[in-house]
Structures are given as C-alpha cells and as structure tokens.
C-alpha cells in the first residue's frame, strides 16, 4: 500500500523550499504591522524546530485563541463563598447542587439579598413554588426588586385525583413553564440575577432538560451583566456552567435551655444554626481558590438573634 504525504507547499502549488534558496512571501503581513509593502522574510522551519519548541512568529497558539476576558465577579452575600470562589460571575451559568437541607436556598436568598442591596432587579423562576416570603424578608431581600415566577398549575389541583395520567406529567409541565419563562426573561434583559430553582425537582426529571437548552441559556447571558444561577440536586448543565458548587450539611446546632445533664424536653430546644459545607466541584473561571476548594459556614435561623 502506498501512501502520500502532501505538504502545505505542494497543496498551495508552490515550490518546496530548500536550503539556500530564497522564497517569495507566502503569507500577507498581519494587520498592525508597519508598512504593507515592506518585505517580510519567509519563515523557515526545520524538522528540529518542533522538538525544540520554536514558536511560530505571528501565529497565535491554538490554546490562546479567543481568550475571553475574565467575567466580573459579584458578592454572593456570604463571606465564605466569596473567599472560596470570588463571588458569582456575571454573564455565566453557576450551578449550586446539594441534597435537601444542604443550604441551597440559604445561599440563594443570600445572593438575592446582596443583589438587591446593589440596586439590581432579580428574578426567581420557581419550578416547585417553594419560595418562602418570610425567609426572604428575614434574609433582607428587597421584595419589591424580586420578580417571582411560580411555575406549575394552581397548587390546589395537585391534590385532585389523577386524571388520565395528568399528574404523571405534572413535573414536566412545570419544567416547560420554567424553561419558557427563563427564555423570556433572558430575552427581556435588565435583570442583575436570574435564578432557576429546580431544587425539588426529581433528578430524573431534571436530567430530561436537554443540554442545548442550557447552552442556549449560557449564550443568552454571555455578554450581559446577568448572573444566572441554577439550584439543583445534581449537576445537569454539563459543560455549559462555568462554576459548580456542591453543598453539604454538616449538621445543625440546637440551643438547649436548662441543665445539660438530663435529656432536655423538646419545648426547651431551639434550632439556631445550620452548618453548611461548600465545595467547588468545577470552575472554568481563571480565579482559583486560594487555599482549598472547600469551605464551611453557618447559617443562623431568623430567630436565633
């Protein structure tokens, strides 16, 4: 079997360059160089050049093509998270994942509070209608700057008996509403933060969201100053997200009144704190964590004082 090696010069119909020969200029001078008419000596490459790593003058390495400027980071509202990640990146998708009681909503409300304190308008697209107004107010979220989109049919209908499998499709209808509402909000623009709350959605349902949808969201928010957050149980956006935060609960702190020797009755106990661990699962941002990729912080209950 014969094989042929076609070099670039041959493909371009030019003579091969041999040692000692002068060759005509092949490439036009790059823009910005002085003088169009100024002759530029041709580049001569020998087989040894590649092994020594000789750089090609005027040719941008592929690894640096399309370098994007680092996104602007905004405060997350929690000092520990800011130290870990630098905050939330604008114009990027950030996923916050964790099981129930891992602190996702706490982090969400802290982010909303920080954003509304900055004077920005925020939107929460809530797939399961789970936002608590009292918790938001306690977290100091400016409610007049928060748009709440409550997906799903009238909650009273959830208790109605199943009709021809309607309830089996109920979670997907909520997802469809969430996706279309998010599309519309991203198209409208002007929001400092848009949050997709999929925290209570079954993972198998959340995984049905196609990756093209996440890609579309990422592209829609790319050159804007909007922070796009997604709350989930598991990571589902794949490579579309720029920052992945995994949360875990490290337990809760209970305040007890009375002598600790004897078992305290329930009415003398008070939930005061929930300890949360946050870990950077993946980051496509240039800023890397200073020390470790994990940090612990505590969230106090509103009545803890």
């Amino acid at each position: 079997m014969s094989s042929a090696v076609v070099s670039t010069s041959a493909a371009l119909g030019r003579h091969f360059i041999f040692d000692g020969e002068e060759a005509a200029e092949v490439c036009p001078p790059p823009s910005g160089t002085a003088g169009v008419n100024e002759a530029r000596p041709p580049q001569r490459f020998l087989p040894g050049d590649f092994s020594t790593g000789k750089k090609l003058a005027g040719v941008t390495p592929a690894s640096q093509l399309g370098v994007r400027p680092a996104p602007e980071m905004v405060s997350s509202g929690v000092a520990a998270i800011d130290a870990l990640t630098g905050g939330w990146p604008r114009g990027c998708l950030t996923e916050i994942c964790g099981p129930a009681s891992s602190g996702r909503t706490t982090l969400l409300l802290a982010a909303l509070a920080a954003a509304t304190r900055r004077g920005e308008f925020c939107a929460v697209v809530d797939a399961n209608d789970a936002l608590d107004a009292q918790s938001a107010a306690a977290a100091d979220v400016a409610l007049e700057r928060l748009l709440w989109v409550r997906c799903g049919e009238n909650s009273l209908r959830e208790n109605s008996p199943r009709k021809n499998g309607q309830r089996a499709d109920q979670p997907w209808k909520q997802v469809e509403q969430l996706l279309s509402a998010t599309d519309m909000l991203l198209e409208s623009g002007g929001f400092g933060m848009i949050v997709l709350d999929l925290a209570d959605l079954p993972p198998q349902m959340a995984r049905r969201i196609p990756l093209t949808t996440w890609f579309r969201f990422r592209r829609a928010v790319e050159h804007t100053s909007t922070v796009l957050l997604a709350l989930e149980r598991q990571f589902i956006a794949g490579s579309c997200s720029s920052l992945l935060i995994q949360l875990k609960s490290q337990g809760s702190r209970i305040k007890r009144v009375g002598d600790s020797k004897f078992p305290a009755p329930a009415h003398s106990q008070l939930l005061t704190e929930i300890e949360i661990t946050a870990e950077v699962a993946r980051s496509r941002l240039e800023r890397k964590p200073a020390r470790s990729a994990e940090v612990m912080f505590a969230s106090k209950t509103a009545w803890a004082g």
Partner: protein, 574 residues
Amino acid sequence: MFACIFVPNFPVAAVLRAQPELRARAVAIFEGKPPMEKVFAVNESAGRIGIMAGMTKAQAELCSELTLCPRSPLQESAAHAALLDCAQSFSPCVEDAAADTAILDLAGMESLLGALPEIAQNLFRRAADLGLDANIAVASNPDAAVLAARGFSGVTVIPCGKESEALGSLPVDVLFAGENKSNEGTKKEDERQKESARLLETLDRWGVRHLRALAALPEIALSERLGQEGLRLRKLARGGASRTLVPVEAPAVFEEAVELEYPIVLLEPLAFLLNRLLEQICARLASRALNTQELRLMLELQNLAGAGQPPDFVGIPSESDETQSRRSPLGHAQSLPVADAFANDQRPTTNDASISSRQNKFCRNLRLPLPMLDAKLFLKLLQLDLNAHPPGAPIVKIHLAAEVARPRSAQGGLFLPPLPEPEKLELTLARIARRVGEARVGALELLDTHRAEAFRMKRFVAGITQESQSKNKSDTEKEESAVAALRMFRPPLRANVTLENGELARVLCPKKKEVQGSVLWKAGPWRSSGDWWEREAWARDEWDIALQSADGVVLCRLVHDLLGGGWFVEGTYD
C-alpha cells in the same frame, strides 16, 4: 396671522379615517331611519359617478361601484377630537369653529416653528398622520383663513394685504359653507339656512357669483337691499373682517371607536382593527406630548339573547381563571389574587358563556406600570389578554379609550445598575402570566398578620424605588451570617406521625418519599393562633424536626393543625 384647518366632506372623512382602505373608492354616507334613509355626504369619487346628497339609499344602491356606509357620530366625534389635537400641537390658542374646522392663532409661532409656509405644510402633514385629509390656509384674519381653507384645496398662504385678491376667485357659496347641513337641524338653524338660501338666490339673480364681484358692490346700496347681513358678507368677501378667536381648551379625551357592519368572531381581524385604533390614539397623544397609563377596551357584542347557546369566540384557547383565593386546611392564606392589571368590569369567566350573551358589553382595562406610548406593545398586551379572556360572543362595535398621563422622565446614571426596559418587561410579564397564570407572577408583599403564608402577589414594577429601611446590622454582619431559609411545600404535605410515649418518633409523608424517617431530634412545639373572631380562625403547633431519611438528615417544619387535627410537613430548612 391665523391658520385654518378645514376637513372637506367631514362625515365621509370621519368614516374614511377609520377605514382607510375605502379612500380609493366611491363612498357615500347615509343617515335616517329605514326605509327613509338618504345620502348625507359623498366623496369626490362618488360625486363623479353622479351620486348626490339627498338621494335615497335605494337609489344610491343601484350604483354597483358605490360603497355605502352609515353615518357614525362616534367616528365624527373622534375625528373632530383628532382635528383639535392637530391644531393644539401647533398653537395653544385654538378655536373650535365647527366640527370640520379649527382656527389657530399663529402669533409668535414663527420663531418657534419656522416660516408660515413651513408651518402650513407641517400642519398638513400632521393632519394626514392623524388620518385627516385637510385643507390648510393661512391669512391675516381668521375669517379669511376659513374662506381660503374652504375654497382652496391643499395648502394656501395668503400674504398680508392680499386677502381680497386671493379670495376673489372663490364662489359666493363658500360664504355659507359652514352652515349646518344636517337633515335634523333645529328650528333656528333651519331659519338660518332659509335666509342663506334666500341671500344666495338674490346674489345669483344679480349675477354676483364670485367674491370679487361681491366685494366690488357699493356698500350703501348693498346695505339698503340686504341689510347688515349683506355688509357682513361684503366685508368677508374683501377679506377685511377682523375678530378675536374664542379659544377652546380641548378636553383630554382620547377615544376611538369603530362600528362594524358585520360581527367578527376571529381574533385576527379584531387585532387588525385594534391596531388601527391604537395607532390613531397614539398619534393623537404624541401630537400633544402625552402618554397613557391606562387603556379601556369596550366591545359591544351581538345580542344573542333567546337564540340558544352563543357561538364560541374563536381565538387561542385561554387558561381558566386561577385568581380565586382559597384556604388550605392549615388556614394558610394562599396567595391572594394579583392586583389585577386587567379589571374585568362586567364579564364573568369564560365558563359562563350563556350568562355573558345576555350582557352585550365586554370591558377590559389595561393598566400599565408606567406611562407609555407604544402602539405595538399595547396591541400585543391586548391580544394576550383577549386570548386569556375571550369575549364569548361576536363583536359589533369596538370602543377604545386612553387615560392621559404625563410622559415619564428618568435620570439615568453611568454607575447605576441596569434596569429592565419597562415596555419589554411589561410584555414579558404578560407572556409569562399567560403561561403560568396571572396570579403566579409578580412581586411579593408581606401581610400584617401572623398567619402562615401571609403574603400576596402584587404587580412587579421595575422602577426606581426608595431604599428599603435597613436593619440595625451593618452590611458586613449581614454578609457574614446567612439566614437559614425554609423551602415551602405548597400545599403542605400531609404526614402520618407516629408517637411513642407522647413524643414524635416517626414521620411519613405518602406524597413525598424523601420526607420520611425517624425523628432524630425535635424542637417545639411553638403554638400560634389567630383570627378567632373571623370565620376562618386558625391555630397550630409548629415543630422543627430532623428526620433520618434514606438520603440523609432532613430538617423539616412539622405543623399540627389544632382545629382540623391533621399533621402536615410545611417545608424543609435548606
């Protein structure tokens, strides 16, 4: 100097303003009670084919090229309002001389608006933008301007001192053109018409057919034969009459209406007509530098009482009404209805089509968060609303009114955070509301009660708001300590609670498998109650519990309804 805007064939012009597609056709307007309907006014094309005012409708119908339209006082009123708006956009001193005539005082306007010919041309263009095919005339006194506008078509500018020369070629009929020609005039107007007819006949017998000849008549002889009226007419013919204008403050009423010959049942033609009405209203508002913050749409429906089930209005199927507030078993005040952008004045829900047929008016109000002026946006909002709340019967008349508001002014800043554009946001919210329900999108407002879920949804407005009062804690402290949040279950999950020795031991939620397990620890109960003086009193015990579930430890809020006796998991701390 004074300018006059005159709309020839005003009843025809009013109808053509609402139906521009008829401009190229021969159109005649008829009025009267059947079968004695008579042609009242015709346009030029109809005049050329031999149709005249006074013919019966039956005679006019013999002409196949003719389009017959009923006289519409509503459209004439709207056209007259548009005429005044056009005039007032150029001068604050406007006289409402007649339904088809407006006179402006242009004193001092040249320094603002340019030379007189330029002002006249702009007036002509502005009137055309408002759908009026008007004649414009500028002269040194109001009466000369009126005569020139009635006699010459297009734009006429009479230099000072040349009035007699310019008006000389006009027929004497133009002196009486402003008389009320209605067939149903009052007795006084009838007498005036008779007097005018007598004067015209006299002048005709004398061979005076143009204003030049009338102006040349000797003053004393004319007064002896025709009296003071004759002198007045001579003065008008010479263009020397002088008087002050009686300015009128046009009411800020912006309404447009159209009556349909055939009832419409489709949304698409309705949208077409609404678009036309909206453009006219917006043009009139723009001419007076005003915006609107409320649109009122009134559709007159075909009265189908006694005709059985009315036909369905064909549009995009709407969502059923979800704005009813109901109570859950725990006494939760589930989100109260949105402070509606649309107030449904007279219409029941779409489910009550049989009742709606007996009421032949369908009203919708579109309240905007900020003053706006965008016809396309208004049309889209109205379309979305009509899709969600169709009228339920064919439409025979459309009436649209706009509430006037001053244009909004906002001072932007380089360092201020970006705001959503109000127009885009309003449309986005309307579209989202169509998907999820009107009561399920908006901003939160806490209610002053200790009842659980004490909040209501209100309209979301992305305007510049006052800084909310900050708490005592500094910003640094706020950032350092996040507040534990509760995720709600709506409605709350019914729970089966197992007690051991009177203590909570196990919780099982049949509808949510993740929220079940043995109780690791518990805090509570915290008792609260209220509204015992109301019909819907509530009383509950709250527990904060930790459940050992298959996925790990879940912190929940467990509620015991003391009145109903049930156990519910209200939410999880997350």
